[in-house]
Amino acid sequence: MISRGQRILFWTLLVSSVLMAVVLLRMRERAMDRLLASAETMPLNPPAGRPVQSVTMMMANDMDGSVQPATQNLALPVDANARAHVILQHLITNYARPNSKHPIATNKGVNEIFFMTLPLEPNQVVPGTVAVVDLSTSFVDAHPSGIEPETLTLLSIIGTLHANFPQISEVRFLVDGQQRDTLAGHADLTRVYLASDAPGVKHL
Protein backbone atom coordinates (compact mmCIF):
# COMPACT_ATOMS: atom_id res chain seq x y z
CA MET A 1 0.00 0.00 0.00
CA ILE A 2 1.52 3.30 -1.17
CA SER A 3 0.81 6.22 1.05
CA ARG A 4 -0.78 9.40 -0.28
CA GLY A 5 2.35 11.40 0.56
CA GLN A 6 4.55 9.09 -1.53
CA ARG A 7 2.16 9.35 -4.49
CA ILE A 8 2.25 13.17 -4.28
CA LEU A 9 6.07 13.08 -4.09
CA PHE A 10 6.28 10.74 -7.13
CA TRP A 11 4.05 12.90 -9.31
CA THR A 12 5.80 16.08 -8.20
CA LEU A 13 9.22 14.62 -9.15
CA LEU A 14 7.87 13.35 -12.49
CA VAL A 15 6.38 16.75 -13.42
CA SER A 16 9.60 18.49 -12.36
CA SER A 17 11.69 16.16 -14.55
CA VAL A 18 9.51 16.84 -17.58
CA LEU A 19 9.66 20.58 -16.98
CA MET A 20 13.45 20.51 -16.63
CA ALA A 21 13.78 18.55 -19.87
CA VAL A 22 11.65 21.11 -21.71
CA VAL A 23 13.65 24.02 -20.26
CA LEU A 24 16.96 22.35 -21.21
CA LEU A 25 15.78 21.73 -24.78
CA ARG A 26 14.68 25.33 -25.10
CA MET A 27 18.00 26.62 -23.75
CA ARG A 28 19.86 24.43 -26.24
CA GLU A 29 17.82 25.85 -29.11
CA ARG A 30 18.54 29.39 -27.96
CA ALA A 31 22.29 28.67 -27.72
CA MET A 32 22.22 27.25 -31.26
CA ASP A 33 20.37 30.36 -32.50
CA ARG A 34 22.96 32.63 -30.89
CA LEU A 35 25.81 30.61 -32.48
CA LEU A 36 24.26 30.80 -35.94
CA ALA A 37 23.54 34.49 -35.52
CA SER A 38 27.18 35.20 -34.62
CA ALA A 39 28.37 33.21 -37.66
CA GLU A 40 26.10 35.17 -39.98
CA THR A 41 27.38 38.49 -38.72
CA MET A 42 31.02 37.63 -39.45
CA PRO A 43 33.47 39.14 -39.84
CA LEU A 44 32.90 41.42 -36.89
CA ASN A 45 30.19 43.63 -35.48
CA PRO A 46 31.15 47.24 -34.96
CA PRO A 47 31.81 47.83 -31.29
CA ALA A 48 28.89 49.60 -29.68
CA GLY A 49 29.58 53.12 -28.49
CA ARG A 50 32.79 53.58 -30.50
CA PRO A 51 33.05 56.61 -32.78
CA VAL A 52 33.07 55.95 -36.51
CA GLN A 53 36.48 56.58 -38.05
CA SER A 54 37.60 57.08 -41.61
CA VAL A 55 40.00 54.38 -42.83
CA THR A 56 41.87 53.96 -46.12
CA MET A 57 41.45 50.68 -47.99
CA MET A 58 43.92 49.95 -50.79
CA MET A 59 41.63 48.23 -53.27
CA ALA A 60 43.06 45.94 -55.97
CA ASN A 61 41.82 45.87 -59.55
CA ASP A 62 42.58 42.79 -61.67
CA MET A 63 41.85 44.43 -65.00
CA ASP A 64 44.52 47.12 -64.85
CA GLY A 65 46.74 45.60 -62.17
CA SER A 66 46.43 48.61 -59.89
CA VAL A 67 45.88 49.15 -56.17
CA GLN A 68 43.89 52.34 -55.52
CA PRO A 69 42.91 53.99 -52.22
CA ALA A 70 39.27 54.09 -51.14
CA THR A 71 37.91 55.62 -47.95
CA GLN A 72 35.41 53.83 -45.70
CA ASN A 73 33.91 54.74 -42.34
CA LEU A 74 34.14 52.06 -39.68
CA ALA A 75 33.60 51.81 -35.94
CA LEU A 76 36.92 50.55 -34.65
CA PRO A 77 38.13 49.11 -31.36
CA VAL A 78 40.82 50.90 -29.35
CA ASP A 79 43.41 48.12 -29.37
CA ALA A 80 45.72 48.43 -32.38
CA ASN A 81 45.81 44.68 -33.15
CA ALA A 82 42.02 44.43 -33.01
CA ARG A 83 41.69 47.59 -35.11
CA ALA A 84 43.99 46.17 -37.81
CA HIS A 85 42.01 42.93 -37.72
CA VAL A 86 38.71 44.73 -38.29
CA ILE A 87 40.15 46.84 -41.12
CA LEU A 88 41.63 43.86 -42.98
CA GLN A 89 38.49 41.82 -42.43
CA HIS A 90 36.44 44.60 -44.04
CA LEU A 91 38.95 44.78 -46.90
CA ILE A 92 38.46 41.10 -47.62
CA THR A 93 34.70 41.37 -47.22
CA ASN A 94 34.80 44.00 -49.98
CA TYR A 95 36.50 41.48 -52.28
CA ALA A 96 33.81 38.88 -51.55
CA ARG A 97 31.03 41.17 -52.75
CA PRO A 98 29.40 40.71 -56.17
CA ASN A 99 30.97 42.78 -58.98
CA SER A 100 34.25 43.02 -57.06
CA LYS A 101 37.17 44.05 -59.28
CA HIS A 102 39.36 41.58 -57.41
CA PRO A 103 37.01 38.70 -56.57
CA ILE A 104 37.85 36.35 -53.71
CA ALA A 105 34.97 34.08 -52.80
CA THR A 106 35.23 34.05 -49.03
CA ASN A 107 34.35 36.27 -46.10
CA LYS A 108 36.69 34.63 -43.62
CA GLY A 109 40.11 36.05 -44.38
CA VAL A 110 42.25 36.94 -41.39
CA ASN A 111 42.53 34.94 -38.18
CA GLU A 112 44.64 37.44 -36.27
CA ILE A 113 47.19 40.23 -36.62
CA PHE A 114 50.12 40.76 -34.29
CA PHE A 115 52.27 43.86 -34.06
CA MET A 116 55.84 43.41 -32.85
CA THR A 117 58.34 46.20 -32.23
CA LEU A 118 61.70 45.66 -33.92
CA PRO A 119 64.97 46.34 -32.11
CA LEU A 120 66.23 49.91 -32.55
CA GLU A 121 68.95 50.19 -35.22
CA PRO A 122 71.98 52.42 -34.51
CA ASN A 123 70.85 55.22 -36.85
CA GLN A 124 67.14 54.93 -36.04
CA VAL A 125 65.13 57.29 -33.85
CA VAL A 126 61.84 55.41 -33.86
CA PRO A 127 61.87 51.61 -33.84
CA GLY A 128 60.09 49.86 -36.71
CA THR A 129 57.12 47.58 -36.28
CA VAL A 130 56.54 44.26 -37.97
CA ALA A 131 52.96 43.17 -38.60
CA VAL A 132 52.35 39.42 -38.70
CA VAL A 133 49.17 38.65 -40.62
CA ASP A 134 47.71 35.21 -39.95
CA LEU A 135 45.49 34.31 -42.90
CA SER A 136 42.86 31.59 -42.71
CA THR A 137 43.09 28.39 -44.72
CA SER A 138 39.62 28.98 -46.14
CA PHE A 139 40.81 32.32 -47.55
CA VAL A 140 43.93 30.79 -49.11
CA ASP A 141 41.95 27.86 -50.54
CA ALA A 142 39.38 30.20 -52.08
CA HIS A 143 41.96 32.59 -53.52
CA PRO A 144 42.29 32.64 -57.34
CA SER A 145 45.57 31.15 -58.52
CA GLY A 146 47.87 33.40 -60.53
CA ILE A 147 50.81 35.74 -60.07
CA GLU A 148 48.77 38.89 -60.66
CA PRO A 149 45.80 38.17 -58.36
CA GLU A 150 48.04 36.86 -55.59
CA THR A 151 50.50 39.76 -55.81
CA LEU A 152 47.62 42.24 -55.84
CA THR A 153 46.14 40.70 -52.70
CA LEU A 154 49.44 40.97 -50.83
CA LEU A 155 49.99 44.56 -52.02
CA SER A 156 46.43 45.43 -51.03
CA ILE A 157 46.90 44.05 -47.51
CA ILE A 158 50.35 45.62 -47.07
CA GLY A 159 49.16 48.94 -48.50
CA THR A 160 46.07 49.03 -46.29
CA LEU A 161 48.11 48.29 -43.17
CA HIS A 162 50.69 50.92 -44.09
CA ALA A 163 48.02 53.54 -44.85
CA ASN A 164 46.37 53.13 -41.45
CA PHE A 165 49.40 52.20 -39.34
CA PRO A 166 52.37 54.19 -40.67
CA GLN A 167 54.65 52.78 -37.98
CA ILE A 168 54.58 49.38 -39.72
CA SER A 169 57.85 48.80 -41.56
CA GLU A 170 57.61 45.08 -42.38
CA VAL A 171 54.81 42.60 -42.99
CA ARG A 172 55.00 38.83 -42.69
CA PHE A 173 52.32 36.28 -43.54
CA LEU A 174 51.26 33.03 -41.92
CA VAL A 175 48.42 30.67 -42.75
CA ASP A 176 46.61 29.25 -39.70
CA GLY A 177 49.70 30.00 -37.64
CA GLN A 178 52.08 28.13 -39.94
CA GLN A 179 54.53 29.33 -42.56
CA ARG A 180 53.44 28.51 -46.10
CA ASP A 181 55.42 28.70 -49.35
CA THR A 182 52.89 30.52 -51.51
CA LEU A 183 49.49 32.16 -51.30
CA ALA A 184 47.82 30.07 -54.00
CA GLY A 185 50.74 28.52 -55.88
CA HIS A 186 52.63 31.66 -56.91
CA ALA A 187 53.28 34.68 -54.66
CA ASP A 188 56.01 33.95 -52.10
CA LEU A 189 54.75 33.95 -48.50
CA THR A 190 58.07 32.99 -46.94
CA ARG A 191 59.74 36.37 -47.41
CA VAL A 192 59.41 39.54 -45.37
CA TYR A 193 57.63 42.32 -47.26
CA LEU A 194 58.67 45.90 -46.71
CA ALA A 195 55.82 48.31 -46.11
CA SER A 196 57.72 50.89 -48.18
CA ASP A 197 57.08 48.66 -51.21
CA ALA A 198 53.40 49.64 -51.03
CA PRO A 199 53.09 53.39 -51.59
CA GLY A 200 49.80 55.32 -51.70
CA VAL A 201 48.95 54.28 -55.23
CA LYS A 202 50.81 51.19 -56.29
CA HIS A 203 50.77 49.92 -59.84
CA LEU A 204 51.87 46.34 -60.18
Binding site: D62, M63, D64, G65, P144, S145, G146, I147, E148, P149, T151, G185, H186, A187, D188, R191, Y193, D197, H203, L204
Partner: protein, 244 residues
Protein backbone atom coordinates in the same frame (compact mmCIF):
# COMPACT_ATOMS: atom_id res chain seq x y z
CA UNK B 1 72.97 31.19 -46.99
CA UNK B 2 73.67 29.66 -50.40
CA UNK B 3 75.86 31.44 -52.92
CA UNK B 4 76.10 31.22 -56.66
CA UNK B 5 78.74 32.31 -59.13
CA UNK B 6 77.58 35.34 -61.10
CA UNK B 7 78.44 36.47 -64.60
CA UNK B 8 78.51 34.58 -67.86
CA UNK B 9 79.55 30.92 -67.79
CA UNK B 10 82.30 31.64 -70.36
CA UNK B 11 83.97 33.89 -67.83
CA UNK B 12 84.28 31.04 -65.34
CA UNK B 13 85.84 28.72 -67.95
CA UNK B 14 88.30 31.44 -68.89
CA UNK B 15 89.33 31.88 -65.26
CA UNK B 16 89.96 28.13 -64.90
CA UNK B 17 92.03 28.25 -68.10
CA UNK B 18 94.24 30.99 -66.65
CA UNK B 19 94.75 28.99 -63.46
CA UNK B 20 95.64 25.76 -65.27
CA UNK B 21 97.95 27.33 -67.86
CA UNK B 22 101.01 27.79 -65.57
CA UNK B 23 100.60 24.28 -64.16
CA UNK B 24 100.51 22.75 -67.64
CA UNK B 25 103.55 24.79 -68.62
CA UNK B 26 105.51 23.54 -65.58
CA UNK B 27 104.63 19.93 -66.29
CA UNK B 28 105.66 20.29 -69.94
CA UNK B 29 109.05 21.81 -69.05
CA UNK B 30 109.75 19.00 -66.58
CA UNK B 31 109.23 16.37 -69.28
CA UNK B 32 111.21 18.16 -72.04
CA UNK B 33 115.07 18.11 -72.39
CA UNK B 34 116.83 20.84 -70.42
CA UNK B 35 118.35 22.41 -73.54
CA UNK B 36 115.09 22.65 -75.42
CA UNK B 37 113.59 26.10 -75.67
CA UNK B 38 110.71 26.67 -73.31
CA UNK B 39 107.41 26.06 -75.01
CA UNK B 40 105.32 29.03 -75.83
CA UNK B 41 102.49 29.56 -73.40
CA UNK B 42 99.25 28.23 -74.78
CA UNK B 43 97.19 30.89 -76.42
CA UNK B 44 93.97 31.59 -74.62
CA UNK B 45 91.26 31.68 -77.22
CA UNK B 46 88.35 33.86 -76.20
CA UNK B 47 85.36 32.09 -77.64
CA UNK B 48 82.43 34.27 -78.60
CA UNK B 49 79.78 33.87 -75.88
CA UNK B 50 76.82 31.89 -77.08
CA UNK B 51 73.39 33.49 -77.08
CA UNK B 52 71.26 31.05 -75.09
CA UNK B 53 67.68 31.36 -73.93
CA UNK B 54 66.09 29.47 -71.05
CA UNK B 55 62.34 28.80 -71.21
CA UNK B 56 60.85 27.79 -67.88
CA UNK B 57 57.37 26.27 -68.10
CA UNK B 58 55.99 26.68 -64.59
CA UNK B 59 54.42 23.96 -62.41
CA UNK B 60 54.20 20.29 -63.50
CA UNK B 61 53.37 16.93 -61.98
CA UNK B 62 51.16 17.17 -58.89
CA UNK B 63 51.52 20.96 -58.96
CA UNK B 64 48.99 21.72 -61.67
CA UNK B 65 48.91 25.49 -61.11
CA UNK B 66 45.68 27.33 -61.85
CA UNK B 67 42.61 25.56 -63.25
CA UNK B 68 42.02 27.62 -66.39
CA UNK B 69 38.89 25.76 -67.49
CA UNK B 70 37.23 22.39 -67.00
CA UNK B 71 39.69 20.79 -69.40
CA UNK B 72 42.74 23.05 -69.24
CA UNK B 73 45.33 23.28 -66.48
CA UNK B 74 48.02 25.93 -66.21
CA UNK B 75 50.83 23.35 -66.25
CA UNK B 76 49.62 21.91 -69.58
CA UNK B 77 49.11 25.25 -71.31
CA UNK B 78 52.51 26.65 -70.36
CA UNK B 79 54.22 23.41 -71.42
CA UNK B 80 52.53 23.64 -74.83
CA UNK B 81 53.59 27.26 -75.22
CA UNK B 82 57.12 26.42 -74.06
CA UNK B 83 57.50 23.69 -76.69
CA UNK B 84 56.15 25.93 -79.45
CA UNK B 85 58.36 28.84 -78.46
CA UNK B 86 61.40 26.56 -78.30
CA UNK B 87 60.66 25.26 -81.81
CA UNK B 88 60.22 28.75 -83.20
CA UNK B 89 63.43 30.06 -81.64
CA UNK B 90 65.42 26.98 -82.65
CA UNK B 91 64.22 27.45 -86.22
CA UNK B 92 65.82 30.90 -86.08
CA UNK B 93 69.11 29.42 -84.93
CA UNK B 94 68.80 30.38 -81.27
CA UNK B 95 70.10 27.94 -78.67
CA UNK B 96 67.24 27.14 -76.29
CA UNK B 97 67.22 25.26 -73.01
CA UNK B 98 63.92 24.29 -71.40
CA UNK B 99 63.54 23.44 -67.72
CA UNK B 100 60.59 21.12 -68.34
CA UNK B 101 59.82 18.93 -71.36
CA UNK B 102 57.07 16.75 -69.87
CA UNK B 103 54.49 16.69 -67.10
CA UNK B 104 56.96 16.17 -64.28
CA UNK B 105 57.47 17.99 -61.01
CA UNK B 106 60.65 20.10 -61.16
CA UNK B 107 61.56 21.87 -57.90
CA UNK B 108 62.30 25.59 -58.12
CA UNK B 109 65.86 24.92 -56.97
CA UNK B 110 66.51 22.58 -59.91
CA UNK B 111 64.97 25.04 -62.37
CA UNK B 112 67.28 27.82 -61.19
CA UNK B 113 70.28 25.48 -61.24
CA UNK B 114 69.52 24.42 -64.80
CA UNK B 115 69.04 28.01 -65.96
CA UNK B 116 72.13 29.34 -64.20
CA UNK B 117 74.32 26.52 -65.54
CA UNK B 118 73.59 27.66 -69.11
CA UNK B 119 74.77 31.23 -68.57
CA UNK B 120 71.75 32.38 -70.53
CA UNK B 121 71.25 35.76 -72.16
CA UNK B 122 67.54 35.62 -71.33
CA UNK B 123 65.33 33.55 -69.03
CA UNK B 124 61.60 33.48 -69.65
CA UNK B 125 59.22 31.86 -67.17
CA UNK B 126 55.73 31.09 -68.44
CA UNK B 127 52.59 31.18 -66.28
CA UNK B 128 48.85 31.49 -66.96
CA UNK B 129 45.82 32.68 -65.02
CA UNK B 130 42.15 33.41 -65.53
CA UNK B 131 42.35 36.83 -63.81
CA UNK B 132 42.89 40.08 -65.66
CA UNK B 133 43.36 40.56 -69.37
CA UNK B 134 46.22 40.08 -71.86
CA UNK B 135 49.77 39.61 -70.68
CA UNK B 136 51.08 40.27 -67.16
CA UNK B 137 54.78 40.92 -67.40
CA UNK B 138 56.78 40.64 -64.19
CA UNK B 139 60.31 41.22 -63.07
CA UNK B 140 61.69 40.44 -59.62
CA UNK B 141 60.77 42.82 -56.80
CA UNK B 142 64.25 42.47 -55.30
CA UNK B 143 66.39 45.46 -54.43
CA UNK B 144 69.14 45.84 -57.06
CA UNK B 145 72.54 44.66 -55.86
CA UNK B 146 75.95 45.09 -57.50
CA UNK B 147 77.25 42.31 -59.72
CA UNK B 148 79.90 40.31 -57.90
CA UNK B 149 81.57 36.99 -58.58
CA UNK B 150 79.46 35.27 -55.95
CA UNK B 151 75.84 36.20 -55.41
CA UNK B 152 73.45 35.13 -52.63
CA UNK B 153 71.23 32.39 -53.95
CA UNK B 154 67.93 33.80 -52.67
CA UNK B 155 68.47 37.26 -54.19
CA UNK B 156 70.82 36.60 -57.13
CA UNK B 157 68.36 38.13 -59.59
CA UNK B 158 68.90 41.50 -57.88
CA UNK B 159 72.22 41.79 -59.73
CA UNK B 160 70.37 41.52 -63.05
CA UNK B 161 67.60 44.00 -62.21
CA UNK B 162 68.54 46.55 -64.87
CA UNK B 163 69.01 43.97 -67.63
CA UNK B 164 65.75 42.27 -66.69
CA UNK B 165 63.90 45.58 -66.99
CA UNK B 166 65.37 46.07 -70.47
CA UNK B 167 64.30 42.55 -71.46
CA UNK B 168 60.85 43.28 -70.03
CA UNK B 169 60.69 46.43 -72.14
CA UNK B 170 61.56 44.36 -75.22
CA UNK B 171 58.75 41.88 -74.52
CA UNK B 172 56.36 44.75 -73.78
CA UNK B 173 57.12 46.35 -77.15
CA UNK B 174 56.63 43.07 -79.02
CA UNK B 175 53.30 42.41 -77.29
CA UNK B 176 52.07 45.94 -77.95
CA UNK B 177 53.05 45.47 -81.62
CA UNK B 178 50.93 42.28 -81.60
CA UNK B 179 48.05 44.30 -80.10
CA UNK B 180 48.05 42.33 -76.86
CA UNK B 181 47.56 44.51 -73.74
CA UNK B 182 50.36 44.30 -71.20
CA UNK B 183 50.35 44.96 -67.46
CA UNK B 184 53.81 45.52 -66.05
CA UNK B 185 54.64 44.51 -62.51
CA UNK B 186 57.13 43.25 -59.97
CA UNK B 187 56.66 40.14 -57.87
CA UNK B 188 58.30 37.82 -55.37
CA UNK B 189 58.45 34.43 -57.04
CA UNK B 190 60.61 31.34 -57.07
CA UNK B 191 62.73 30.44 -59.02
CA UNK B 192 62.84 33.94 -60.57
CA UNK B 193 64.68 35.44 -57.59
CA UNK B 194 67.55 32.96 -58.01
CA UNK B 195 68.10 33.33 -61.77
CA UNK B 196 71.51 34.72 -62.75
CA UNK B 197 70.34 35.99 -66.13
CA UNK B 198 68.11 38.77 -67.42
CA UNK B 199 64.74 37.27 -66.51
CA UNK B 200 61.05 38.00 -66.97
CA UNK B 201 57.88 36.16 -66.04
CA UNK B 202 55.17 36.14 -68.69
CA UNK B 203 51.73 35.38 -67.27
CA UNK B 204 49.06 34.84 -69.88
CA UNK B 205 45.42 35.64 -69.19
CA UNK B 206 42.30 35.71 -71.38
CA UNK B 207 41.96 38.64 -73.77
CA UNK B 208 38.99 40.73 -72.63
CA UNK B 209 37.72 42.79 -75.53
CA UNK B 210 34.76 45.11 -75.80
CA UNK B 211 32.67 42.50 -77.59
CA UNK B 212 33.90 39.14 -76.35
CA UNK B 213 36.60 37.37 -74.36
CA UNK B 214 39.30 35.38 -76.15
CA UNK B 215 39.95 32.25 -74.13
CA UNK B 216 43.40 30.97 -73.27
CA UNK B 217 42.64 27.81 -75.23
CA UNK B 218 42.21 29.81 -78.46
CA UNK B 219 44.96 28.60 -80.86
CA UNK B 220 45.07 31.94 -82.66
CA UNK B 221 45.67 33.79 -79.39
CA UNK B 222 48.40 31.34 -78.43
CA UNK B 223 50.05 31.82 -81.86
CA UNK B 224 50.13 35.58 -81.39
CA UNK B 225 51.72 35.26 -77.97
CA UNK B 226 54.39 32.80 -79.11
CA UNK B 227 55.20 34.89 -82.20
CA UNK B 228 55.46 38.06 -80.13
CA UNK B 229 57.74 36.35 -77.59
CA UNK B 230 59.95 35.01 -80.39
CA UNK B 231 60.16 38.50 -81.94
CA UNK B 232 61.12 39.96 -78.57
CA UNK B 233 63.89 37.38 -78.09
CA UNK B 234 65.26 38.02 -81.60
CA UNK B 235 65.33 41.75 -80.92
CA UNK B 236 67.00 41.08 -77.58
CA UNK B 237 69.61 38.99 -79.40
CA UNK B 238 70.40 41.91 -81.72
CA UNK B 239 70.73 44.25 -78.71
CA UNK B 240 72.75 41.69 -76.80
CA UNK B 241 75.35 41.41 -79.57
CA UNK B 242 75.89 45.15 -79.49
CA UNK B 243 76.60 45.08 -75.75
CA UNK B 244 80.31 45.28 -74.77
Amino acid sequence: MHWIEGGRQAGGCLAIGFLLAPLASTLASAQSPSNAPPPAPPAVVRAAPRFAVVIDAAHGGADSGARLSDHLLEKDLVLTLSVRLRSMLSAHGIYVVTTRESDGAIPALNRAEAANHVGAAACITLHATTSGSGIHLFTASLTPIPMTRFLPWETAQGAYAEQSLRLSSEVDSAMTHAEIPVTLGRTALQPLDSFTCPAVVVEISPLSGTAHVTALSDPGYQDRIVAALAAAVEQWQRDWRQQP
